[in-house]
Amino acid sequence: MGTALQIKNLHVEVNNKLILKGLSLNIEHGEMAAIMGPNGSGKSTLASVLAGKEGYNVTKGYIKYLGNDLLKMPPEDRAAAGVFLAFQYPVEIPGVATSTFVRTSLNAQKRNRGEAELDAMQFLKLAREKAKQLEMSEDFFQRAVNVGFSGGEKKRAEVFQMSMLEPTLAILDETDSGLDIDALKIVAEGVNRLRDDKLSGIVITHYQRLLDYLQPDTIHILAEGKIVKTGDKSLALLLEEKGYQGIDGAN
């Protein structure tokens, strides 16, 4: 094991407003950590800062991932280093087939890492394999990225991209939002299939539901821009029962 991701005393401003106020968090290789917290506590801000979105001003603290100073890297380098963000609202790219998008992404990452790129045939073989594992039909290969996808399809497509890109740090930003229970199950099962000792995960969610399926190793409560409590599954159960009021420092 050993620490994969280290976040120390992170302070982040958005539009001159301090959102994260000294967040610290360590995640081990292979660990699946859930981050829960009330609206506005800074959960999605954390996801965006990890992936390198513009407009987030880090005023204090650092993020180290596999020894790299993550904050100094542009988003594409973070992606090549293994950081994957499953978006809460996956973005539409009209006219670009999903398979083209994923192949372009995968090869860009491989190029960035100095690895050999996949040709069209190699790619198709891999994509078919992964789609099969995720019990997805291949129809969506030719559909434009997220265009006309239902909420469930979008999230499944995110999981498909994740399985193709084989990240070492997966951040699932409210992946359960907008999903009915069947879609939620399918998505969770997809993520579970990808879990191994090399993949660390951060699952951002409001609800116990997703955690029932994902079985995270640790649970962290984020409130007012800080981690206020860390525990195991039982913490989520406590939360379900008593709400954030029942957790010290989270109300």
């Binding site: 594409e76 973070r78 992606a79 090549a80 009209p94 670009v96 372009t104 860009a108 434009a144 991209q161």
Partner: protein
């Protein structure tokens, strides 16, 4: 306009040279600066033209003189007034001494672009005009000379004529007399009049009745096209029931010392014939400040003369400082079809005013317009189109879709559609959208591993896909890369 005595003496000198060594001593051949009847005569003589064609040119020239005050000003493009007496209208090919000796002498920026586009070294040498690269490159591009030879004999077996228009004037005068200027009269507009007066050469294609041309014409001429000059003239005639696909241009960046380009392209489709004309234009757009780029003022028009004929224009316009271009179709025959598919990019200080005219005359005629305009940097882009339903165009239909994509804060996209319907049964539908590449889109794509330029290229290719898929396969792959390269520096 008074002919200056300098010009007269210069022409005298030039014609003297012609007398003594025009054919053998090609390197010393030139026409002096400026334009007058003597220059027109000089060009005609240089091409060894019959007198009817000289008269035809002179008629154009005289008309052009009258039009000089009518240089079109309605387009949304801005540039300093052109002094037409300061330009050269005929220059011989460069002598070997003036040509670069190797790629080392070529601007590294151009070489860089060649590499990004994946152009083979031999072909790069050809494009850059390296001494002695000529014959070799044909091999490089087509594997062997025999391929080109096979190509030619295959075409002539089918009775297809594909040759320089200057050659066609001599070998097929009846066809030229019948069709030259029949779609775009010399006096059609300022630039077509200029072209008609001074065009140097171009291509002629004739597809006989019932023949489907078995290959896309002119990938073969990809290289030769580099030196077709500033006033190019193309005429394509598809006889009854024939088919041809013609490719013009090149994805490789073209530099040219002539700033003004005014080409004319005429297409004629007779009964049941189909012409598919594809262009990729990537002339030098000028530097960051818009200095030194090509002015591309082109007149392109096709006539669907016969019933059930079809003409389809597809263009990818990424180059030139200024583009003024409206490939159009006159839908004369009943049930004839006109199509216009366009992708145009204006980056840096580029300006493009481009679109089409669909003139419906026959019954049940049908036209489709898909225009994708992309503006970045300080680029300005205007779609200008006319759909006219004449009184006799019973049940004619048109569908137009004009989409603009803006990248950054300093560019502009404009849509100016004119609709003129004189027949109550005709249907015209127009859709237009303007969108921006959003920060969300860029971040999403970057998060998957693409750098900002790759991300923009991917998004833009998606935006332009409907048009790109209309291009012949090989051209489409190159055009995709080209869109990315053309937008470099537009983000970040």
């Amino acid at each position: 306009m008074a002919v200056s005595s300098d010009t007269i003496s210069a022409v005298e000198k030039a014609t003297k040279k012609y007398k003594y060594g025009f054919i053998t001593d090609i390197e010393t051949e030139f026409a002096p600066k400026g334009l007058n009847e003597d220059i027109v005569k000089f060009i005609s003589k240089k091409n060894d033209e019959p007198s009817w064609l000289l008269e035809w040119r002179l008629k154009a020239y005289r008309q052009w003189l009258k039009m000089e005050k009518e240089e079109p000003k309605w387009a949304n493009i801005h540039f300093p007034e052109i002094d037409f007496q300061e330009a050269y209208y005929y220059a011989a090919p460069k002598s070997d001494e003036d040509k670069p000796k190797s790629l080392d002498e070529i601007d590294p920026e151009i070489l860089n672009t060649y590499n990004k586009l994946g152009i083979p070294i031999k072909e790069q040498e050809m494009l850059a005009g390296i001494v002695g690269s000529g014959n070799v490159a044909v091999d490089a591009v087509f594997d062997s000379v025999s391929v080109a030879t096979t190509f030619k004999s295959k075409l002539s077996e089918l009775g297809i004529i594909f040759c320089p228009i200057s050659e066609a004037v001599k070998k097929h005068p009846d066809l030229i007399k019948k069709y030259l200027g029949s779609v775009i009269p010399q006096t059609d507009n300022f630039y077509s009049a200029l072209n008609s007066a001074v065009y140097s050469d171009g291509s002629f294609v004739y597809i006989p009745e019932g023949v489907k041309c078995p290959m896309d014409l002119s990938t073969y001429f990809r290289i030769n096209a580099a030196e077709t000059g500033q006033f190019e003239r193309t005429l394509i005639v598809a006889d009854k029931g024939s088919y041809v696909s013609y490719l013009e241009g090149c994805t490789a960046p073209m530099r040219d010392e002539n700033q003004l380009h005014a080409a004319v392209v005429e297409l004629v489709a007779l009964e049941d014939a189909e012409i598919k004309y594809s262009t990729v234009q990537n002339w030098y757009p000028g530097d960051e400040n818009g200095k030194g780029g090509i002015y591309n003022f082109v007149t392109k028009r096709g006539a669907c003369r016969g019933n059930n004929s079809k003409i389809s224009w597809t263009q990818v316009e990424t180059g030139s400082a200024i583009t003024w271009k409206y490939p159009s179709v006159i839908l004369q025959g009943d049930n004839s079809i006109g199509e216009f598919y366009s992708v145009a990019i204006s980056n840096k200080k580029q300006q493009a005013d481009t679109g089409t005219k669909m003139v419906h005359i026959g019954k049940n005629t049908k036209s489709t317009i898909i225009s994708k305009g992309i503006s970045a940097g300080y680029g300005q882009q205007t779609y200008r189109g006319l759909v006219r339903m004449q009184a006799g165009a019973e049940n004619a239909t048109n569908f137009s879709q004009c989409d603009s994509l803006l990248i950054g804060k300093n560019c502009g996209g404009h849509t100016v559609p004119y609709i003129d319907s004189r027949n109550p049964t005709a249907e015209v539908a127009h859709e237009a959208t303007t969108s921006k590449i959003s920060d969300e889109q860029l971040f999403y794509v970057q998060q998957r591993g693409l750098d900002p330029e790759e991300a923009v290229a991917l998004i833009v290719n998606g935006f332009a896909k409907e048009v790109l898929k209309k291009l012949p396969m090989e051209f489409a792959v190159e055009a995709q890369k080209l869109l990315g390269v053309s937008l470099e520096g537009s983000v970040g």
